[in-house]
């Protein structure tokens, strides 16, 4: 029953202050610690026994020890500091870092948390790569057409130019524009040098990327974007985007910055390298010389050094690693019979695709 050691300390009555939680008036009480409860007594004879299961330690200052009651918010018993051993004996240690962490200990919690965090980051980064190929193309198409629509007034709608643009895609990837999952390529009248693959098999080329290049280099650019679509890099980037950075966007709004959002999806370096490798292969199969593409990349790299703003956007979404132009240049085969991508007439039509843009009513 009552062991000697327990009663040894609690025999001494401890003077304490009690707030009953009903008013802020402090009551002077004496406290006797029992093995599983405390007894409070007031000078006027009032007395109450409180079971230790109803009690919890409350973080007090340095100058006192505090107990609260689980069933009565605001009920506080304020004991002098020397009552701390009695309280610890009755209730154990107070909560420190949080219940779970207290249970397993700080260091194991830190280790477990570190491992968990590292794996979450790793999975968040790697998982889209595994999942993307299994996302049905129709889902991606729905997302894409919801976002993209028909581009409204931005789109250059010249019929002959459009035919020529599709002809470039067909040259590098025969049959790519046909079928329900066919690639839909559009020229946009936006004054930036850029091209991009968007969700749902859309590829957009901005006007400067047409009028500032030649047909073969344009074929190189489009082959790269076709590879992004084919390899499901777009779905992968979408997954990554919505997995991690969805909330941060859209806060600052000027239209230029937000038009860029169309292209904000970024690919990993491996994806870019893979798209380049595919593009080189497509050019070879189509008998298109890779040299103009290499020359274009070289020119863009030089412009980047000189900070010419025209190509800044393109370079941001298609980082020019040192060997990129070289890889295209190295794929040049002196024995091959390269043929021009487009006829003269086709290129003329494509060149003018944005110049006679009919305004929609």
């Amino acid at each position: 029953m009552r062991t000697r050691s327990t009663w040894g300390r609690s025999d001494a009555l401890i003077h304490a202050r009690l707030y009953d939680g009903a008013t802020g008036h402090p009551h002077e009480v004496t406290v006797a610690f029992g093995p599983s409860s405390i007894r409070l007594t007031q000078a006027d004879g009032w007395s109450e026994e409180v079971d230790s299961t109803a009690l919890r330690p409350v973080d007090g200052g340095r100058s006192d020890v505090r107990l609260g009651r689980r069933d009565r918010p605001g009920w506080r018993l304020i004991l002098p500091p020397d009552a701390a051993p009695n309280v610890r004996e009755l209730l154990g240690r107070e909560e420190r870092y949080g219940r779970w962490i207290d249970r397993i200990g700080l260091v194991p919690a830190l280790v477990a948390g570190g491992v968990l965090t590292a794996s979450v980051v790793a999975i968040g980064y790697a998982a889209p790569h595994w999942i993307a190929p299994h996302v049905p193309m129709s889902w991606e198409r729905n997302v894409g057409s919801a976002i993209v629509g028909d581009f409204g007034d931005l789109r250059c709608r010249d019929a002959k130019g459009q035919q020529a643009l599709e002809a470039v895609v067909e040259r590098v990837s025969p049959g790519a524009t046909r079928g329900p999952d066919g690639i839909k390529v559009a020229a946009l009248d936006v004054p930036m040098f850029n091209a991009a693959a968007l969700p749902g098999g859309y590829i957009v080329v901005f006007k400067p990327a047409i009028v500032g290049t030649d047909p073969d280099a344009l074929a190189g650019i489009l082959a790269h974007e076709v590879a992004h679509v084919r390899r499901r890099h777009v779905a992968e980037a979408l997954l990554r985007e919505f997995g991690i950075g969805a909330l941060i966007r859209l806060m600052a709004g000027n239209i230029g910055a937000n038009a860029e959002q169309l292209l904000a999806l970024s690919y990993t370096r491996q994806n870019e390298a893979q798209a380049d490798a595919d593009a080189i292969r497509m050019l070879r199969q189509a008998h298109i010389s890779p040299r103009p593409t290499a020359a274009l990349f070289r020119r863009l790299a030089k412009e980047q050094e000189q900070h010419l703003s025209m190509s800044a956007e393109f370079l941001e979404s298609h980082p020019l690693s040192g060997g990129r132009a070289q890889r295209f240049a190295a794929s040049f085969d002196p024995t091959a019979h390269y043929q021009p991508t487009l006829t003269r007439d086709q290129w003329d039509a494509l060149f003018d695709i944005c110049s006679k843009r009919p305004r929609r009513p």
């Binding site: 202050r17 973080d59 605001g74 976002i147 409204g152 239209i255």
Partner: protein, 362 residues
């Protein structure tokens, strides 16, 4: 125990005192920082609860210390609830805006952004109110807590309206809006049976506000006249004089040093007036931090973070709290036997909104 007086009076002294010290807080700061890093930031709610338990328990108000009873769990849940509400909202705009741009509907896109901003401001005001209400409801003194019966939806509307009105005056009228909002916020709050009252007026605040407001205008005028002088010098073919360069340099310095200083200058006075104008029952408050003291706080925070390679960030909350408490004074008498328990609804959702919108309570 001579604490058994029915009326505790704030006699001589400040009435409120911070008794913590940084060495005592160090173990909390270190373990909080480590746990936050190791949990991808999830622990920050529990870290905030631990920090507040410490700061509140080391704050002596009249005759007893404060007590923080909020928990990390409830703050985390509050955050999750708010995210359930905000994520669909953000996703909707995330899709709608590019979709409108891609269809060439720039005006509609701007309309959407406009609506978004309005909702954002409204929720920002709402969040500020709820954060204050939550903090009072978790603050105990003499076993009594504070709170508010006002859910704060109307305050969000008032916040939006006053910001819109002061926007119409190009924010010249901001002191008017800020003081009215302070009053509206605090009048809705109570502690036990006692209501906070706030009668903050914009009188006496205008000079500092106009100083801050007009400084950029003065800067532009000065920069333009410097530019004209430079152009004049260029026309005569003489190289720009050293004097002119000095003027341009001085202008840049003024811009980067004077503007933050003028901002502090305004806030220092604003807070002193605000504390003076706020009462709780028969208790009155005053706040005596000067512009230079505020500057010391901010520079100290900055230096601490830089010198400790970022670890000092964990002391910002500690430093800010102790600064506020050290400069606050409480006058008057409170009758603790009349101080009955608060009947206000104790909100459960913690301060998720404030957290999401990154606004402070005061």
């Amino acid at each position: 125990m001579d604490a058994l007086t029915s009326a505790a009076a704030a006699e001589e002294g400040r009435g409120i005192e911070f008794t913590g010290n940084w060495r005592e807080y160090l173990p909390i700061a270190i373990t909080n920082a480590l746990l936050i890093i190791c949990t991808l930031g999830v622990y920050r709610f529990w870290a905030a609860a631990r920090q507040r338990r410490y700061l509140w328990s080391r704050t002596h108000f009249i005759d007893d210390s404060l007590e923080w009873t909020g928990t990390g769990k409830e703050m985390f849940l509050g955050f999750l609830i708010v995210m359930c509400f905000l994520i669909p909202f953000f996703l909707f705009f995330q899709f709608l805006f590019p979709a409108l741009i891609a269809r060439g509907k720039g005006e509609a896109a701007f309309g959407v952004i406009f609506l978004f901003e309005i909702a954002f401001i409204y929720l920002g005001g709402f969040a500020r109110f709820r954060a204050l209400r939550y903090r009072l409801s978790r603050t105990y003194w003499h076993g009594i807590r504070g709170g508010s019966d006002d859910p704060g939806w109307n305050y969000g509307g008032e916040y939006l309206g006053r910001i819109a009105l002061s926007l119409m005056t190009m924010f010249i009228a901001w002191p008017w809006a800020a003081t009215r909002l302070w009053n509206a916020r605090w009048k809705a709050m109570s502690f036990g049976p006692l209501h906070f009252r706030a009668r903050l007026e914009s009188e006496g605040l205008w000079r500092r506000w106009l100083l801050l407001y007009l400084a950029p205008v003065g800067f532009v005028v000065a920069a333009m006249s410097a530019g004209i002088m430079a152009a004049g010098a260029a026309k005569t073919g003489s190289p720009p004089s050293a004097g002119l360069m000095a003027i341009i340099f001085a202008l840049a310095a003024v811009f980067y040093i004077a503007l933050p200083l003028l901002t502090l200058n305004w806030y220092a006075k604003y807070f002193r007036h605000a504390a003076d104008a706020t009462t709780l029952g028969d208790l009155e408050f005053s706040f005596d931090a000067t512009t230079l003291q505020w500057l010391g706080l901010f520079l100290g925070n900055l230096a601490l973070a830089v010198v400790t390679l970022g670890f000092g960030l964990t002391y910002w909350g500690y430093r800010n709290w102790s600064f506020m408490v050290r400069h606050l004074r409480v006058h008057g008498v409170i009758d603790v036997s009349q101080l009955t328990q608060s009947t206000t609804h104790a909100p459960r959702e913690a301060e998720g909104f404030a957290d999401a919108f990154d606004v402070g309570a005061i």
